[in-house]
Amino acid sequence: MLNLMKLEMKKNKFGWYFKGVVIANFFILLFMCLIPYVESIDEGPMFSGVTDALSVVGTFVRVTFVIFASVLYAKLIIDEYKSNTISVLFTYPIQRKKIILAKILLITGMTFIVIVGSNVFVSGAFIMFNHYINLFPNDLSNKWLLPALVNIVVQSIAATGMSLICIYFGMRKKSVPTTIVSSLLIISLVNSNNGNFSISNIIAIPLTLAVIGVGIAYFTFRNIDRVDIV
């Protein structure tokens, strides 16, 4: 399996992805620093405290990288069907399920690591900047740190699982735009902020969606060994 994942990396050369991750991280950070300025014109400070600030960082990071994940699914799975390279891939003496599973594991692994990493990077940098620009009250105790880290990991698992849902729509139409748009719709629905309330804050909801995502991926590829490649 590791070998198959390595081959996928060799095939796809992820330089563009990691460049995108770095650029997105800087933009999220920039955006975080700008929101309070824009918002403070109308009403008081945007963030009540560090936990509040981190929750917004988390939302931005998850939305961004779940969409990135959908681009990866489109490129690694849907594109193989569209360009018909799948008919070469499936004439190798390897089970189809294994080939697809290697792709999914690679993408989910990358997505999870990138979401956790970006969360840590953007949050850290934002808290550091806050010492100088005072966008929210500094909390020098470390009490918030552990729950925040746990929250990041749990939310990242949920987001990674949720990213799988788009495969179902993408595979039905074998379409790259469908894959990306469906992912955009799902993630914006879950993370949309309505008067400081977002359904992603009730952690059971994103986790349930993540389980649904895994189920959908299984359902989509359950019969892959029996399907005709025409």
Partner: protein
């Protein structure tokens, strides 16, 4: 010669439409088997079923003496293939594509890549992205990819499509060499009859999803294929002479000036001598061999008339 590939009553239905019906074919080891048929006859579908890309609706396939099931994959190690047209990861170079292929096939011999590229006369392009290749170059690269692991069986769907005449000749030589020197068995589909005629040992003619005939080339060559073609403005008198003076009955008037004489026991010179002595003008007289094309068309027509 042992049978390396056989199908029995193989059929495939796509959404209620019969694409392949009751095909039973046998390919012997070391042979070049030419798969002939018009476009849309079902050649590609059969080849896809052999590679397990498409699952048969009914019937059986046996390759290397083992029945092929839905989950069979091991036998694919021993097969090289091109289906429809050669597809590659376009952004990668020729070399990277071939390295990937070898890795997926579980074949690790760095030298083999170079040898395969040389064999198909694709040199100095290994670092060029495949998307910059012409169709002919892709076709060569596809063949290089198929033969790199020295498989026992090659399944090539229209491998000479998109090649120029020089390329076609190259490929003919390569196929011949693979069969003779490496003992590979080749199953080649094509609609270019002339090409298949030159290389195939056996041909299978397929029309509307049915295998109409499977016949060794030697048999076709031996089947009444030589004839004398006579062109004369006075065909009525000529046929009279042929029948009454030369006692030839085995001839056919093609149109009002061309007569084909299938009787080979009488020399061409005797025929022309007799005609001239009887004052019949001869525009031309030639000995001809019916090509596979004619054989093929006759077979196809017969099926159409029958249907």
């Amino acid at each position: 010669m042992s049978i390396i590939l056989s199908t029995s009553h193989l059929s495939k239905t796509f959404q209620g439409k019969d694409v392949v019906t009751d095909v039973s074919m046998r390919v012997s080891q070391g042979q070049i088997y030419g798969f002939l048929g018009p476009n849309g006859a079902g050649k590609t579908t059969i080849m896809k079923m052999l590679l397990n890309l498409v699952k048969p609706t009914s019937g059986d396939i046996e390759i290397f003496g083992e029945p092929i099931k839905q989950s069979s994959i091991e036998y694919l190690k021993r097969i090289g293939s091109i289906i429809e047209y050669p597809v590659f990861y376009d952004k990668l170079t020729a070399l990277e594509n071939l390295e990937l292929h070898c890795a997926y096939m579980g074949f690790y011999n760095k030298k083999a890549i170079k040898e395969a590229l040389e064999l198909v006369h694709l040199t100095n392009v290994d670092h060029k992205a495949v998307r910059e290749f012409s169709l002919g170059m892709k076709q060569r690269l596809g063949i290089a990819r198929a033969i790199i692991t020295k498989p026992e069986l090659l399944i090539l769907d229209e491998p000479i499509n998109g090649l120029d005449p020089v390329g076609m000749k190259d490929m003919r030589n390569i196929f011949g060499m693979l069969s003779k020197e490496y003992g590979m068995t080749l199953l080649i589909s094509s609609h270019l009859l002339g090409e298949v005629e030159m290389i195939a040992d056996t041909i299978g003619i397929i029309k509307s999803g049915r295998l109409i005939q499977e016949i060794p080339m030697d048999t076709i060559k031996g089947q009444n294929t030589d004839y004398v073609e006579l062109k004369t403005p006075d065909y009525k008198k000529a046929t009279f002479i042929l029948e009454n003076k030369l006692h030839i009955t085995n001839f056919k008037v093609m149109d009002n000036s061309v007569i084909r004489i299938y009787e080979t026991s009488i020399a061409q010179s005797d025929i022309s001598k007799m005609l001239i002595m009887n004052d019949i003008a001869i525009e031309s007289i030639n000995k001809k061999t019916a090509s596979l094309e004619e054989y093929f068309l006759t077979q196809i027509e017969e099926v159409e008339n029958y249907a």
